[in-house]
Amino acid sequence: MTVLVLLDHEAGAIRQASRSAVTAALALGDVHALVTGDAAVAAAAARIPGIAQVLRATDAGSAHDLAEPLAALVASLAGEYSHIVAASGATAKNVLPRAAALLDVQPIPDVVSVVDAETFVRPIYAGSALATVRSSDAKKVLTVRASNFDPAPAEGGSAAVRDVTAPEAPAVSEFVSIERSKSERPELDSARVIVSGGRGMQNEENFKRLEPLADRLGAAIGASRAAVDAGFVPNDYQVGQTGKIVAPELYIAVGISGAIQHLAGMKDSKVIVAINKDPEAPIFQVADYGLVGDLFEVLPQLEAALDKAG
């Protein structure tokens, strides 16, 4: 079996998430990679160990990863592959289902575990349950959750690169512009790091003391329901069942006791840090790293430690 992996790139390098997808694909068979972008990107893909061949899309429509030509390209290449895989992300979610439709295949998104060549585990209901599904399609189209697969190394391989082009089709869409998020605070549901405050922040004024830490980490700021109810911050800060479900790489809970609503809203975070003066606070039961102490003393120490570490 040979698997085609769609790789995503940024600033000339293959994204780490895509290298995780390579790991997932290697569990299924030999791996070919499809990249868009310039020769440098294709070269970067070729250096990932385990990739046997790199297909480089060269047509103009691929430049901005527009779904219509890219999906048509993937579908046109699909013939020789048993699986088509990509890391879950905006590009793959835009392109792969469309390609799957062209192939008359039901895609399997957000795979967290590969059971066998046709059986996969994926979260449903925002992670409240894990479904194991078996596909009866001849080909499988899947996206994988990068955090569940270790990324393949970036260097060490030497695959051949071959140019491919999408089949001719009328252009129904055009790229207009892209606006990268500025350095200002990221949105809660897309932030890589979240610093969240709870009742322990005591008041609206003190809640602002989270900002220097969030600035240093490029983090979004969230809040527990209790902090919202107490009026420290507006309700769009709320993380939790009735607010938002978040799953950043790093979640720092400051002065949050860990009410179940809050835990339900952030328990899928990759790494959870809890800072609380009450060693019995439920938040410590889910935290990877717990620091018991007065948050008003800990916060400046953390900032200092981050500055020192550079």
């Binding site: 349950a129 599904v133 129904v172 869409s173 717990g290």
Partner: protein, 249 residues
């Protein structure tokens, strides 16, 4: 122009789903169901297009059991003009839904299909893209802004780390993301009026579509509980561990 808005009946977003003891799925009996929140946003966007004089008719569609009528009634109360229920007891996958919608598009000839980016039950995030693929139409997924002018839809999309704007030839598919708008309430007077709006029922077979699922659910389980980690002694220790051990900063 005519807008088609597919909506799905799902377990209400306030309800924490409960995995059945026998692992065959999630308990839905007696559980409150509502319109998929992303679909509500799609309905709202369609209604705003109509209020702006751009859309002339909004047709809401749902594929599912008889009670999906309630979901359609909500769409009608929010401002859709009429509704079509594609009645089936099968849990239809996005591929099957896209095929049903393709058949309805052939019948209704809308200029725009707008739907939620994903349903909060199966979290597939696929139907809009698949329908676009089957129709060969342009797609603007994860939309946070939609402008219709000169036969095109200019869609601002939420992508990793920013916003991308694309211009789509109509007819096109748009899938709604959270920030597109804040849906209105279905007010009581409008719910009352919605009872009188037309609702048509068809079967997938009437449309010549086979909706047999391609995926078999082997089992459904609760995710493993998270375990407590370590207590660190100082802020410096914490930073060092986040850097060297967890590698997240």
């Amino acid at each position: 122009m005519k807008v088609l808005v597919p909506v799905k009946r799902v377990i209400d977003f306030n309800i924490k789903p409960r995995v059945k003891a026998d692992g065959t799925g999630v308990e839905t009996a007696g559980v409150k169901m509502s319109m998929n929140p992303f679909d509500e946003i799609a309905v709202e966007e369609a209604v705003r297009l109509k209020e702006k004089g751009i859309a002339t008719e909004i047709v809401a569609v749902s594929i599912g059991v008889q009670q999906a009528q309630d979901t359609l009634r909500t769409a009608l109360a929010m401002g859709a003009d009429r509704a079509i229920l594609v009645l089936t007891d099968v849990a239809v996958e996005p591929l099957g839904v896209a095929k049903v919608l393709k058949a309805l598009v052939a019948k209704e000839s809308p200029d725009l299909v707008i739907l939620g980016k994903q349903a909060i039950d199966d979290d597939m995030n696929a139907t809009g893209q698949m329908l676009a693929g089957l129709l060969g139409w342009a797609q603007g997924t994860f939309a946070s802004k939609v402008e219709i002018a000169d036969g095109r839809a200019v869609v601002t999309r939420e992508i990793d780390g920013g916003l991308e704007t694309v211009s789509l030839a109509l007819p096109a598919i748009v899938t709604a993301d959270l920030r597109l708008n804040e849906p209105r309430y279905a007010s009581l007077p409008n719910i009352m009026k919605a009872r009188k709006k037309p609702m048509e029922t068809v079967a997938p077979g009437d449309l010549g579509v086979d909706v047999t699922p391609r995926l078999t659910i082997v089992s459904v389980a609760e995710p493993p509980a998270r375990k407590a980690g370590v207590k660190v002694e100082s802020a410096a220790d914490l930073v060092a561990r986040l850097r060297n051990e967890a590698k997240v900063i």
